[in-house]
């Protein structure tokens, strides 16, 4: 086996309490980091801005980050001289739009489905035009797939996301509580925070994100440019371990084991049945009679795969994301270059070379 000489074998890696943090968590638990000579400490964060700033400030080595985040550093930290980059898209999809049970009941729907619910919501908003408080929907960060997916769904239903409703930002793990208190009427968030609201009987899933915008980049492995320059081999080892973890997760027979690991107190600290749904391609739209509202939802989580381009961060994908973000606030399309296809190719070459050596020795 080719061994990498990591410049910095002790790594601190940041993540949030989300199902799609799975590649980091299983890489740790399956010993994949060790296989590539790394000793990785995982650190859980609650806020995306904090995760980003700790990475830029050098308090961590790498992070599982919202895909548009490294592309929009200039928009959020206008004069920050540090740049972020990504050589691996960890996952696509993984989110959903959830409405509060109360709002859903008011819509008096004849049938489900994102289009029907959207149309009913549009009618409902028109009927309450005299109310002073607009309906409020939350996403997790201004420049996030969640914001884009929520706006996309509202736009399609003829609802102006900037005029007809109020959009706010909340951290993922506070969504369910805010929905329960009635502070918000719906949200777009990553799993398992949609399934949890359904299981608690306070929310109804309108649309898993893969049914809205298929294979949209969701989380990327991000590091700073200066960290990458100083630690290229460490970075390669990290990508190799995480791509291997994504490969393991792509085998559906491993997903049950992944659920058991993710549920532990030190990681997501949630019931296994809550985490299992999206990883096992099942969506329960609302809680009702047995089996009611349960649907198969293949590809709710698409993890990076060497045989498809899901894990490939290309300038083209960067531009597409930035074009979508431009609807939220002006973006800079030159930033698309922080998605580094060359680094992804380097990871593939390294893994391929290693597999060849392995097959020659057995």
């Amino acid at each position: 086996m080719t061994t990498l000489q990591a410049e910095k074998p002790n790594i601190k890696l940041l993540y949030l309490r989300l199902t799609d943090s799975a590649p980091l968590i299983v890489a740790k638990e399956l010993g994949l980091f060790e296989r590539y000579g790394l000793n990785v400490e995982l650190q859980r964060e609650t806020s995306w801005a904090t995760l980003r700033d700790k990475l830029i400030g050098g308090a961590a080595d790498a992070a599982a980050m919202l895909a548009p985040m490294p592309l929009t550093v200039k928009q959020t930290l206008p004069h920050c001289e540090e740049q972020l980059l990504s050589g691996l898209i960890l996952s696509c999809n993984g989110n959903a739009i959830t409405l509060s049970r109360a709002l859903y009941d008011q819509l008096e729907l004849a049938s489900d489905g994102p289009v029907n619910i959207g149309a009913a919501l549009n009618t409902h908003i028109a009927s309450r035009a005299s109310e002073t408080n607009p309906l409020t929907f939350a996403s997790v960060y201004p420049f996030a797939s969640h914001t884009l997916q929520l706006r996309y769904w509202l736009n399609h239903a003829g609802i102006d996301p900037d005029q007809d409703v109020r959009l706010v930002v909340l951290p993922p793990e506070q969504m369910v509580d805010h929905l329960r208190r009635g502070d918000i009427d719906g949200y777009c968030v990553g799993e398992p925070w949609n399934t949890l609201a359904v299981q608690q009987g306070i929310g109804v899933i309108v649309a898993p994100s893969n049914t809205l915008m298929p294979a949209m980049p969701e989380k990327v492995l991000a590091v700073t440019q200066s960290w990458h320059d100083a630690n290229p081999a460490t970075h390669l080892a990290l990508r190799a371990a995480l791509l291997a973890a994504c490969g393991w997760l792509n085998d559906r027979s491993h997903r049950r084991d992944a659920v058991g690991i993710l549920a532990r107190p030190e990681y997501l600290n949630l019931p296994e049945e809550t985490i299992a749904a999206s990883l096992e391609d099942q969506v329960t739209l609302h809680r009702g009679h047995a089996g009611h509202g349960v649907k198969a939802n293949p590809d709710w989580h698409l993890f990076a795969h060497p045989q498809t381009d899901h894990g490939l961060p290309s300038t083209k994908k960067g531009r597409e994301l930035l074009a979508l973000c431009n609807e939220i606030a002006p973006t800079d399309s030159t930033e698309a270059e922080v998605f580094r296809a060359d680094l992804y190719q380097q990871t593939l070459d390294f893994l391929r070379h290693q597999n060849q050596q392995f097959s020659q020795t057995v």
Binding site: W48, A49, H79, Y141
Partner: protein, 195 residues
């Protein structure tokens, strides 16, 4: 200072907030409000129109502030203050101190920097205070468990306090462990009912 800079402080630790607030006011800054958490933060920022918002870097409410600064670009709402000093060094020291700050567009970095530095200094000294408190607590706990182990040894083995102390020390040295760990083992062992 020609006009005084106005500050909104968001901190869920009241004792620390008080420290920071006192220092900022003493330095001549106007403290508009002191919030325990960002509940109603959207409304509070609009109401007070602060020049800077200071917030604990670990606060989950930071993402709310971030969305305000990105979306309301034409309002005098805060923008991420890291722009003040450019490079990552300042972010590094802010992260280390635990402070995150957002400042209004159009404010010069030079005018705002001292206020942020005051907050950073206060956050740091608060951290030291907490750490030394925790250390003291730890030492107290340690003394308690050692006294208990000695007491049990004296009662069970019918030895003097000095001999019990000596036993603990020898055990710790021989097992390359600490007196505390040995004491914990002895307490756990001797506390189980005798067969």
């Amino acid at each position: 200072m020609t006009t005084t800079i106005s500050i909104l402080l968001v901190d869920d630790r009241p004792d620390r907030a008080a420290m920071v607030a006192a220092q900022l006011t003493a330095a001549g800054y106007t403290l508009l409000a002191q919030l325990s958490s960002a509940e109603g933060l959207l409304f509070q920022v609009e109401k007070h129109r602060p020049d800077i918002v200071l917030i604990d870097i670990e606060s989950p409410d930071r993402d709310i502030l971030e969305s305000l600064s990105v979306i309301n670009q034409h309002n005098p709402t805060p923008v991420a203050m890291f722009s003040a000093r450019g490079g990552a060094d300042f972010i590094a020291s802010a992260v280390e101190a635990g402070v995150s700050a957002y400042m209004a567009e159009g404010l010069s970095a030079e005018r705002v920097a001292p206020a942020i530095e005051i907050a950073m200094a206060q956050f740091r000294s608060y951290q030291h205070l907490r750490q030394s408190l925790e250390r003291t607590q730890q030492q107290l706990d340690e003394r308690k468990i050692i006294e208990r182990a000695k007491g049990l040894l004296m009662a069970r083995k019918n030895v003097s306090e000095q001999a019990a102390h000596q036993t603990l020390r020898t055990l710790a040295m021989n097992s390359n462990s600490t007196m505390r760990k040995v004491a914990e083992q002895i307490v756990a062992h001797l506390q189980t009912p005798a067969n």
